[in-house]
Amino acid sequence: MTVRTVLMIFTVAMILVSGGLFMRRLATLIRVMKGARPAQRTDRLGARVQSVVEHVLLHRRMFRITYSGLLHYLIFSGFVVLLIDIVETVGEIFFPGFTVGRVLAPLVDIWVLLVALGILMALYNRLVIRPARFHGSDEKDAYLILGLIAAIIVGIVIHDSFFPFVAREVLHVADPVARSHFLGWALSRVWLRLGWTGPTAASIGYAVGYVMDMGVVLAFLAYLPYSKHFHIFAAVPNIFLRNLGPKGALLAQPPEDTMAIRTFNDFTWKDLLDLYTCTECGRCQAVCPAHAAGQPLSPKMVILKLRDALNEQLAAKTVGNADTPPIAGQVISQDELWACTTCGACQEACPVFIEHVPKIVGLRAALLEDGDIEANAQKVLVAWDRQGNSFGQPARKRPAWAKGLDVPIKDARKEPVDWLWFVGDFAALDPRVQRLSQLIARLLHQAGVDFGILYEGEVNAGNEALRIGEYGLFETLAQKNIQALNQAQYQRIFTTDPHSLNALKNEYQKLGFHREVRHYTEAFLELIETGRLTVRPLSMRATYHDPCYLGRWNGIVEAPRRLLERLGVELVEMPRHGVQSFCCGAGGGRIWMEETNITDRPANQRIREAMTLPDVHYFVVACPKDVSMFSASVTAMGVENALRVVDMAELLAVAVGLETAEDAALISS
């Protein structure tokens, strides 16, 4: 038997075995995905293709960490060039005389060098730089995979180096590309010197290289679906099938029965695909405020624990059984689930577009159905149900902030208004924020805007109720608001609260409310740009904190910045800004929960981040919850003199000349 016959048998056998194993695993995964809840993810083909180009071919999110992006790009590009090598290697054995030509052949060698560089960079990353985000990942798997890739590229050079001799001595064909494989050619000079060029020596040498290359490639095929490197196959479809609907909508459709996730059948099929796509890169963990605060939550570990639990159930054939250990509370602990602020930083960071938040909230809903919820948050749920606000204040008190104000505020339920203002719980009821609401009213009045509010007709928008996992309560609150909104006559609607904005804009659609809703920074920018409000520039330096529900979930990052510019504020950005802003820690119901396990409050971390900026003494916010979170931090940290938290409304008030003595300090400083 010649080396050709041996390798042909080897190749066919490997393809059958590996391909079989691969297909079997794939069939299992497809079966479990078919048993899961539906999700519509095949609309808008153009946008989907575009996102694949951006995030696969161009690695846009990957390059947010330049070093890792580059090393991954080197290795990733290798997989594309690997195809040339596979075609060539299989071709030259099965169809003697086959070549890929002098143009493609040297590409393989160039690629070998690039991948080798990528592997070295990856080793340096894992052994020397050791980013904390890898903590908890399966590092052994990572090394194994790097080793296998190294074996492939070494194998390629080895078989290329022996091929000229095999071609001449065994296959009796020409090897026109021998010199094009410049690495193999160089190595073949060594064999010449050693005299390993005869039929036997060359055959053995070639076979070793072939097995290291093709053997490992095919073994890879069998191993991949069981390893994190399944992302090599899953990443492209996962990015293609990403959520293109309104980002801020937690659920695209009202849940059929319940949104609670109890078994793996209660996830959507896309959620399950997410689990197998995770690369364990830990980028999500690195940006998670709960993780940074010392809480037990890591979005990466949520995905990995879910994947491992699903794998166990797949092996035991118990997927969907109600008597498997509960996912919520056991696979993922209660503490992990309640720690999430639903800030979305994890989803924004994930290079393969895994969606953590809907999974976490679905699991919260399961806890809630069993009556398990943190005591303070429970009080708030009850208060929303009874009084319609988180403060447990009588509904009648909601518009109390508007009483005794020198500007009239219309009741939009009773008379038509141009602008309807959805105030939100904090702006209406938190004494620290009420003052800002009064400023907004006076500013609107100054601009001559015909505006009104819903008075007692407004209740909490339900954004947080939904994110705590209480869909029924969200729906009740939303329906009350929608009823009041339908009664009112107005041209446009805006809100001072990003959380309300998110609910009105993204979550109410599924209940039939489809109006364009704006944030007050957008509204006031328009008033200034159209000349309805004249401002005297402030000339001050400040930094700006993007609220998660404004920036990340709704992409409103430009308007506040342009507004600051109009107000004459020189903006100094914090390292984390825009859609990559860092959460204050209040979202997802966290603001009401006990701060157990928290070693370093996210809001304090954020204030420290701002304090690293040179000559910045103002921290501008545009969310009522931020006013209370960051003011508390600044006070607790005792840095009131170094950094002052100001709301956009205060800057506006000073700039248009509504300033009070206290606010006037803003310009003089």
Partner: protein, 253 residues
């Protein structure tokens, strides 16, 4: 074990209560389940989970008690019973106790739990009255209730943290101070679903003759020789408190 939980709703104290013509405008007020009854309900559900029991939630229909009973069903009681008749919100404790005792007597419960008190029953009369009318064992201000065969065991706590454990033969009635765990949350969806699928049993009855205490007048404390009244204004009261703390050197500037 057959357990009954006696429940009622009380004015929601979140709303400011206004006295009109010497009485509360009961028809205009909003009502919520009495928090101590919620504790009794939770304790009953915990006993059920621990040892198995058949739990009935009972309320006198003095207005809208349906939501409260459906919520109890959603939380896991086996049955909800509403005693219906011509009852007004101003039903006295004596009358309420009579109705509850009559119903419970017929049903032969082994154990009856209710809140130790309510904001409109600060002396905690209901528990004692019902037990007295039924002629069964009774203890109040208790917690940590466990059942074993035909007996019930529970704890009473006294000032200074002293505790006493008791044992009582069934049938018995206990006024619950607090459940072992905070009352569970029940989702709106679950209550709605129960409203569609479950029914509240109705039992008819009417109030009998009972002695009635009438309110002559309601009034605020009158300032006597030793008291200084600060009034209702938050600012003024706060200033007074600050002044006193400063005077006693309890405040550091």
């Amino acid at each position: 074990m057959k357990i009954a939980v006696l429940m009622k709703d009380v004015p929601d104290l979140v709303e400011d209560l206004e006295v009109e013509d010497g009485a509360l405008p009961l028809d205009e007020m909003s009502f919520v389940p009495s928090e101590w009854d919620d504790q009794a309900l939770e304790e009953a559900l915990l006993i059920k989970e621990e040892d198995g029991a058949d739990v009935t939630a009972v309320a006198v229909d003095t207005g809208d008690v349906d939501t409260m009973l459906y919520t109890a069903l959603a939380k896991g009681v086996d049955r909800a019973v509403k005693i219906v008749g011509d009852f007004s919100r101003s039903l006295t404790n004596r009358q309420r106790a009579q109705l509850l005792a009559r119903y419970c007597q017929n049903e032969r419960f082994d154990l009856i739990l209710t809140g130790v008190q309510a904001i409109d029953d600060l002396d905690g009369q209901i528990a004692g009255l019902v037990a007295g009318l039924m002629g069964i064992g009774h203890a109040s201000v208790v917690r940590d209730v466990h059942v074993a065969q035909d007996r019930v065991r529970f704890v009473q706590e006294y000032s200074g943290g002293k505790m006493a454990e008791f044992d009582l033969a069934c049938p018995a009635l206990l006024g619950i101070q607090a459940a072992r765990k905070p009352p569970r949350y029940v989702t709106i969806a679950k209550v709605r679903q129960v409203q569609k699928s479950a029914e509240i049993d109705e039992v008819e009855d009417s109030v009998g003759e009972t002695p009635v205490v009438t309110v002559r007048r309601l009034y605020k404390p009158e300032s006597g020789g030793h008291a200084e009244m600060w009034g209702d204004d938050v600012e003024t009261v706060a200033n007074h408190i600050v002044a006193i703390l400063e005077e006693k050197k309890l405040l550091r500037g």
